[in-house]
């Protein structure tokens, strides 16, 4: 009785051993060069080599085994998964054209990207996420040659008031946010339909009316950061050269009034009876006297 049973178990073990060796062959990963890359977020240090398996498990289906954004699902997704070999990222705290900080990537992994297929990976432990950040970095040599940009400073958020919201509205018109986002933030500006990303794929501007969350975070400071750093790879430029920190908060407050959810800003706008901007009315006076050189430079003399 024992013998056939033993043979069967031995047979099973043999199959098991075979399977494990063949699996080991399959999982052998070619790209070993940059696996020493580290990421640093707070007190945590991430190691690319520790994230190999988790990258395969969670990320490679979309971002591809080689990090090129060509995973088997990529063709079905819109927006497309990020190509890590290009080292270009939308959600940064750093100026346009520069590398994001490790913390920026870490935040994106934990937060997920709204309006895309990128979910929040916060069920993973902090360490696993930092390791994944290091792994994302290992796909591009740019991390060896370039340093991440300096995070733009964000002053403390001032108290919102009617004046600030009105000033924000003036900026919304002056900076021509409406050209893409529309006068009411409904993503229907005159240029909205022509936008393409850096791969010449059509891309839509953010619709403030429809959506409650921004791709790069939901807080006021995230909104501040988005237009001060720009979203690289998309048509969204950086306004850091033209908007002073104090004005930037005004714009944040105004943009909040465009969103559907209840907010203090929306309440104030309703009290004010704030009307959407009318750029056509503004074109006439703007054309007659040569364009006023940066009227909002002087924030104390606030424009009406």
């Amino acid at each position: 009785m024992r013998t056939p049973q033993t043979i069967l178990i031995a047979c099973a073990m043999a199959v098991l051993a075979l399977a494990s060796t063949s699996s080991a062959q399959i999982t052998e990963y070619q790209e070993q060069q940059n696996l020493g890359v580290e990421a640093h977020v707070g007190r945590l240090t991430g190691h690319a080599k520790d994230a190999e398996i988790n990258y395969r498990r969670y990320c490679a289906g979309c971002h591809g085994n080689q990090g090129d954004g060509e995973g088997e699902n990529a063709m079905w997704l819109d927006p497309k998964p990020r190509n890590f070999t290009l080292a270009q990222f939308k959600c940064r705290s750093t100026p346009t054209g520069s590398l994001p900080t490790d913390a920026d990537l870490y935040d994106t992994v934990g937060r997920g990207v709204q309006s895309s297929n990128m979910p929040s990976w916060n069920p993973l432990s902090d360490q696993q996420r930092v390791d994944l950040v290091a792994y994302v970095k290992h796909f591009s040599d740019r991390w060896k040659t370039d340093k991440p940009g300096e995070a733009i400073p964000i002053p403390p958020e001032p108290a919102v008031n009617a004046e600030r919201i009105k000033s924000g509205q003036v900026l919304f018109q002056k900076l021509e946010c409406w050209k893409c986002h529309g006068v009411e933030g409904r993503a229907n500006g005159p240029s909205a339909d022509t936008l393409t990303d850096d791969q010449n794929r059509p891309i839509k501007p953010f619709n403030f009316h429809d959506q409650t969350k921004f791709k790069c975070g939901t807080a006021d400071s995230d909104l501040y950061r988005i237009f001060m750093t720009g979203l690289d790879g998309t048509p969204m430029p950086s306004f850091a050269d033209n908007v002073k920190p104090d004005e930037a908060w005004d714009l944040v407050f105004y943009l909040r009034t465009l969103q559907p959810q209840h907010s203090k800003e929306k309440e104030i706008a309703e009290q004010l009876g704030l009307k959407p901007i009318n750029p056509n009315a503004a074109v006439a006076p703007a054309e007659a006297p040569a364009p006023a050189p940066a009227p909002a430079q002087n924030n104390e003399n606030k424009p009406q």
Binding site: Q88, G97, P293
Partner: protein, 251 residues
């Protein structure tokens, strides 16, 4: 899209050999200061120029008003009546010594956004050469250069509302060519061509002049945004202008 064929590969191989020889020969004359040789020539377009799509700027009334008298078209191929091809960048793609290759011209070229067009449409630059981006329009532009992804130059994207101060910046590495666009005005298109060493850009009649070329044997490349590149070998003697003409075929 420049097509790759075996001939091109052989050419490149020869060019490399020649370049090696040139470098050796350059070493001999390196003691002498560059004696300011130059290359002149003209660029011709043979055949019919491709149709240039008219640009409708009605979505930007301020710019439409500027061009009311003379409607503008795309500028992918700009040829004069006599076939002179404008906006071609001619540069030394091979054979330069180290010192000439790192030369940076003293003036800061300006890239203007005017009437919702880029002026110039094509701008040549050296690596690390500072240039200014200005906005002469009463409207906002976003200046969005898109170098090849993953390369040494990096895409950036800045808003420049009317009346904003100039943006001064540079490119750190050679790249032929960097497309510049404005997402607010999708018809706006221009190129920055970053090359080492002296360069020329063909003017209205297709003629160009490259100054300050040290004597030597070079490979000269002419780049046109939609017709691709052409190369030819040229020898520049001290104090004597050399001539190089290029002909692009219309499609």
């Amino acid at each position: 899209m420049p097509s790759r064929n075996p001939n091109l590969v052989i050419t490149i191989f020869c060019v490399l050999l020649i370049a090696a020889a040139a470098i050796i020969s350059q070493r001999r004359v390196k003691a002498a200061p560059p004696s300011g040789g130059s290359i002149t020539g003209s660029i011709k377009l043979e055949g019919t120029p491709p149709h240039q799509r008219p640009i409708d700027m009605s979505k930007e009334p301020a710019c439409a008003a500027v061009h009311k008298a003379s409607p503008v078209t795309a500028e992918t191929v700009v040829a004069g009546a006599d076939g002179g091809l404008k906006n071609v960048v001619i540069y030394i793609s091979d054979g330069l010594t180290g010192s000439a290759a790192t030369e940076v011209s003293p003036e800061n070229p300006t890239w203007d956004q005017k009437g919702c067009q880029y002026i110039p449409h094509v701008m040549a630059l050296n690596p690390n050469e500072q240039f200014k981006v200005i906005n002469s329009d009463p409207t906002s532009h976003n200046i969005h250069p898109t170098p090849a992804p993953g390369g040494p130059n990096h895409e950036w994207n800045k808003s420049q509302p009317a009346g904003s101060p100039p943006i001064t910046t540079s490119w750190q590495a050679p790249e032929v060519a960097i497309h510049v666009k404005c997402n607010i005005h999708p018809w706006m298109s221009g190129y920055m061509v970053v090359v080492k060493g002296p360069y020329g850009v063909s003017g209205d009649k297709g003629s160009f002049k490259i100054e300050n070329v040290p004597p030597g044997s070079y490979t000269l490349t002419a780049w046109q945004e939609s017709l691709g590149t052409q190369t030819q070998k040229i020898t520049v003697a001290a104090g004597k202008p050399a001539t190089a003409n290029f002909t692009f075929k219309g499609k």
